[in-house]
């Protein structure tokens, strides 16, 4: 394991620690008083950032060209958005729900291993921007998925009158519903810009599949956003769409990186 991968492994352990710490805090009922969750997430984010920097040095370009690198980049973006969105909407416990997804992504990346890239030609800033924006859009969809899970958990407890520790710590379902809607819109906006940029790029035929999948993902979230906008669907169904919808971009990553 080289130094960059050691940093990633450390980050993964820290996120596992964040999950354990959050569960223990929930069990003891002292969740609100612990700042440990935030600090652990911040430490994990710093280690992730360190990995991306060192990995960039190794491959001498932005490390977003292989599936493991893309998984780590999305995991990094998810944590970044957690800091931005979690505090903006006061979504307590978002870290507890975020850390497992981030951990899974990083474990998958570590198990896949990090190969070196073929030498790269001249750097295209537009291409780098296109990829980075698309991945951050995927991170927004991932966070919408996580928030959707939180919504469904809280909704179920309210419907079934199961009022326990978790109930008191989760935010109001109306706030969660708004957060899902905004995250879907944010992801869609970022993906639209990324795809808009792709019109100005020369893409070889081998990359056509990538663009098709990206447009498919865009289409799916455009439909979800339209349903939300027109109030055609209830918040519960929107939450389900946000959760299930994320499966498509997640699978498309494999297809895109292995095409």
């Amino acid at each position: 394991m080289n130094p960059s991968q050691q940093l990633l492994a450390c980050a993964t352990f820290v996120f596992v620690g964040a999950i354990v710490q959050a569960l223990l805090a929930l069990k003891s009922g002292a969740w609100k008083q612990t700042r440990g969750q935030f600090l652990l997430m911040a430490l994990g984010f710093a280690l992730q950032t360190g990995f991306i920097y060192l990995r960039g040095q190794e491959v001498r370009q932005c490390p977003i060209r292989s599936l493991p690198d893309i998984l780590v980049f999305i995991a990094w973006s998810v944590v970044l958005l957690y800091f931005l969105v979690g505090s903006a909407y006061r979504l307590s416990l978002l870290g507890l729900f975020t850390a497992p997804l981030v951990t899974i992504m990083q474990v998958m990346a570590l198990m896949n291993g990090f190969a070196s890239y073929p030498p790269k030609g001249p750097i295209s800033a537009l291409m780098e921007l296109h990829i980075a924006l698309a991945l951050i859009a995927y991170a927004a969809f991932a966070l919408a998925c996580i928030t959707g899970v939180m919504y469904l958990v809280q909704e179920r407890m309210l419907k079934r009158h199961h009022i326990g520790d978790l109930f008191y710590q989760l935010p109001p379902i109306q706030g969660l519903s708004h957060a899902i809607q905004r995250l879907v819109r944010l992801g869609l906006l970022l993906l639209s810009i990324a795809l808009g940029i792709s019109f100005n790029l020369y893409l070889p035929m081998t990359k056509t599949g990538h663009v098709v999948f990206a447009w498919t993902v865009w289409g799916l979230y455009a439909v979800i956003a339209f349903l939300i906008w027109k109030h055609f669907t209830s918040p519960r169904r929107t939450a389900w769409l946000a959760v299930i919808g994320f499966i498509l971009p997640f699978i498309s990553l494999w297809i895109v990186t292995h095409a």
Partner: protein
Amino acid sequence: MPEPTDNRSGLLCVGLNYKTTPVEVRERLAFPEAQVPQAVQQVRGLPGFEECVVLSTCNRVEIYAAHTLTSGDHGHAVMRDYLVEHFKLQPEHAEALVLYNLDAAEAARHLFRVVSGLDSMVLGETEIFGQVKAAYKLALDSGATSRTLNKLFQQAFTVGKKVRNETTIQRGSTSVGSVAVDLAEKVHDLKECRVMLVGAGEMSRTCAQSLLSRGAKSIIVSNRSYDKAVELAAEMSGVAMKFDEWENALHEVDVIISSTSAPHFVIKPEQVDQVMRKRRWQPLLIIDIAVPRDVDPAVNDIEGVYLYDIDALQAIADDGRRERERQLAACERIIEEQLERFGFLNPSVS
């Protein structure tokens, strides 16, 4: 390790509360807030008494004092005489007066329990913390406290915070009204919450008042007797609505509290189902505190609608109480640790 409190052995607490004394006696012995500064000075003026804090709430009247008398019993007797004289109690009332007399570590333990809400009628309630703080501030501003009581009360506030931070003694709801508020908070942002009362029973009034006190935005009152609706709406700065019109407001409200005396269901699934689209799927919390029930249970099956009847509310309140009782031992342990830490349990320190 903090410096030990001075004159710890000369610390006493004399008082009565809802456990020892019925309300008709407590109300006679309550100190109005405006008279507290004068009272603490009067106690300080008694021979041998140096410091004083008077805590007077609807559930308790307690005097904490630091003295230089040779015996605690003498101090208690002086305090008792002071109360009898101050409130001009008749001999038969004075005779029947039951006070608790605590010294040094016992007095500190009692204050720590009071501040932590362990001695309250509603176990773990947080209002008492603010009341003790206010009582201490009144005494401090009156110049009636010095080193002993300043230290004791600062320690008490530290203990109170520690108990609340490290246990779940204040978690959950223990009354139907507070359960309703907790549920409303988990469905909506309370500041944007619009409430409708269908029926103007006492319990629904209590729930509505709890919601309003926690920041609910507006209230609509609908009742078979329109005059009663107008009266209640005026009391809560809300709007009255004729009973046959409440359905028209369904799409405008976020919480419905129903408590009519109708022998049949007043709120039916078809009425609510129709309105959900018009509400743009905004969630709707319905609290049904009527017996027999006002709301058809099938309403809970509608997406975005959360129905709680009186049994569901009561069950949650009971769980809350049980949970608080389970926390009691942990709270007492913290208090004992803090008494030890502050040197109250170690006679050699003082």
